[in-house]
Amino acid sequence: MPTISRAEVAHLARLARLAVTEEELDLFASQLEVILTSVARVGEVAAADIPPTSHAVGLTDVFRADVTRPGLTQQQALSGAYATEDGRFRVPRILDES
């Protein structure tokens, strides 16, 4: 039975850059608990002979030829940007980020 603490919700919120209120910490902790408990039921039917899987299709080795394809122009690339400068995306200063 998974349990998720308020501290874990706060950690996840910080990683996701979400501002979460004190009340929301409790709310999300209980909601995430329900989700994790539901998903955990998969583990009850997965026997030892069933390997974990990351892909729905059984394919391997799907490759692309190393041939250039036209992409976007600088104007197109920057068209959705919030702010630009000198042909580049302009973002707020980056400090204390990893």
Partner: protein, 499 residues
């Protein structure tokens, strides 16, 4: 702020250094790792981008097959085992150098593991560095920090992002902890990166230009008290952008950490920044909380499962590797151990071999790289391999001299032109009119003039002192700016005097 440093010898008396080197290499594929955007250095910002490498919604990655083969060839050349099955993972983080908010990398399933690289040191001894893994990932975009000092992140008002480099195929080669290096730790670090660079160059998988960032080294350094077998806390120094800097950064960290530990302090596990100018390291961003990248298998890329046949086929494509080439050069060029070591230390061996492969005689190839071109590296402060001249261009200059089209003096001027990025040797010759003058009419006039200006010397030659002809030849060479064919001038002098 200058850190206290312990004397290097004292560091070694009290501590054993442990190194770990992480080298990132950009592959020289035509396209990026997961999209068909061109992989070219130095184009205008955000002109080699597409929905996939910009992380636009709905865009899907497709793996570059050549990049995978390059990774496997690197692994094989490093004596690694190739994983029979591996995947990519998402490394999740918020930092604008990756527009997707994650970097696609290999995490716990690298494509190549458990290898080694034998590294030759300046005294001729060999130190074997164990390789932990070589894995595939994608490079990040380039950030430009505006408003702070020196483009550094501290004090910047905002940052500008260019995603041309985002998604460029990257191989990270990670060593196992290098122990027992002792006093030679800095040298071993440098020699390892040099050997890896030469290996990658021989494989033809990367242009390995540290000055352009296509090869980058992070150096992990820690000290443990002598006699102990418990590793100390390590620091990771980034931004080490030349072979010389690798050596300096390791040595500096050893002395800095020695001083901290001796004064009862403790080493903080942190990322440090190497300052090229001062040869020092400084603390970088210190993280408040431990990293939590929430790696998980990349659902948009299927696993890679190299068959034995595929691995064997790639193994057969490995070229002559540096250490094999060294052994061959020794026998074929008749070099002594010392001569060979000098060439290796000067970084000249592969360049000479490539010049020979391009058709030049070994003696001439060796002479150019170890004398004139080596002098150019001293005045420019770069490595031989980073000079803007290729072995093929050197071979062409040698051929022009052999044909009699250039004198040695002119050949050096042609090489200067190539180094000044004026074009191919033949273009420099044409642009500056550097070809040897063999035109008899022009030369005869110059010889007559020189003889008339020095009647006493002309008399000496007439009197049988043929050695005196040298003075006339010299005068003609001077008058023609070194462009005369000296052999022909001499013939003309003797012919005219006796006429």
């Amino acid at each position: 702020m200058t850190a206290a440093l312990m004397d290097y010898d004292e560091v070694l008396e009290r501590f054993d250094p442990v190194l770990g080197l992480e080298v990132h290499v950009e592959l020289s594929t035509a396209t990026k790792m997961f999209c068909g955007c061109a992989n070219v250095f130095g184009t205008p910002p955000n002109t080699q981008v597409c929905p996939t490498c910009l992380g636009l919604p709905g865009a899907l990655p497709v793996l570059n097959g050549v990049a995978v083969e390059s990774a496997m060839r690197i692994g094989l050349a490093l004596n690694c085992s190739i994983a029979p099955w591996c995947r990519f993972a998402r490394k999740n983080y918020f930092y604008p150098d990756m527009p997707k908010n994650f970097q696609t990398s290999q995490y716990d399933e690298p494509i190549a593991v458990n290898g080694s690289l034998a590294v030759e040191l300046s005294d001729g001894s060999v130190f074997t560095v164990a390789i932990e893994r070589a894995h595939m990932e994608e490079d990040t975009g380039k950030s430009l920090h505006v408003g702070g000092a020196d483009g550094r992140i501290h004090g910047a008002s905002h940052s500008l992002l260019d995603y041309n480099r985002a998604g460029v195929p990257l191989i990270e080669v990670v060593t196992k902890p290098i122990e027992g290096a002792g006093a030679r730790a800095p040298e071993i670090a440098r020699a390892y990166v040099t050997a890896l660079r030469d290996l990658l160059r021989a494989l033809g998988v990367s242009d390995v230009r540290m000055d352009q960032g296509s090869m980058r080294c992070d150096a992990n350094v820690s000290l443990m008290p002598r006699g102990s077998s418990t590793f100390g806390t390590r620091t990771e120094t980034k931004n080490v952008n030349s072979l010389r800097s690798v050596e300096r950064a390791v040595r500096y960290e050893m002395c800095r950490q020695g001083a901290v530990l001796a004064s009862g302090g403790r080493i903080v596990q942190e990322t440090r920044h190497f300052d090229e100018a001062g040869g020092t390291t400084s603390a970088g961003r210190r993280k408040e909380t431990s990293e939590d990248y929430r790696y998980f298998p990349e659902p948009d890329l299927v696993p890679i499962a190299p068959s034995d046949a595929w691995v064997q086929r790639l193994r057969a494509t490995l070229p002559e590797l540096p250490w094999q080439r060294r052994a061959r050069a020794k026998t074929e060029w008749g070099l002594s151990d010392l001569e060979l070591r000098d060439l290796v230390n000067a970084g000249a061996l592969d360049l000479i071999a490539a010049t020979v492969d391009a058709g030049a005689p070994a003696a001439e190839a060796r002479s150019w790289w170890v004398s004139y071109l080596s002098q150019q590296t001293n005045s420019r402060g770069v490595e031989l391999a980073d000079l803007p001249i290729t072995p093929a261009q050197v071979a062409r200059v040698i051929a022009l001299v052999a044909e009699g089209a250039l004198t040695n003096n002119l050949a050096r001027q042609v090489v200067d032109g190539v180094l000044a990025k004026e074009g191919e040797p033949d273009e420099v010759v044409a642009a500056h009119g550097l070809a040897v003058v063999s035109d008899d009419a022009a030369l005869t006039a110059a010889v007559e003039q020189a003889l008339a200006a020095a009647p006493d010397i002309a008399d000496k030659i007439r009197g049988g002192k043929l050695a005196a002809a040298g003075a006339i030849v010299g005068a003609v060479m001077k008058a023609t700016g070194g462009q005369a064919n000296a052999q022909r001038v001499r013939e003309l002098v003797l012919a005219l005097v006796s006429a």
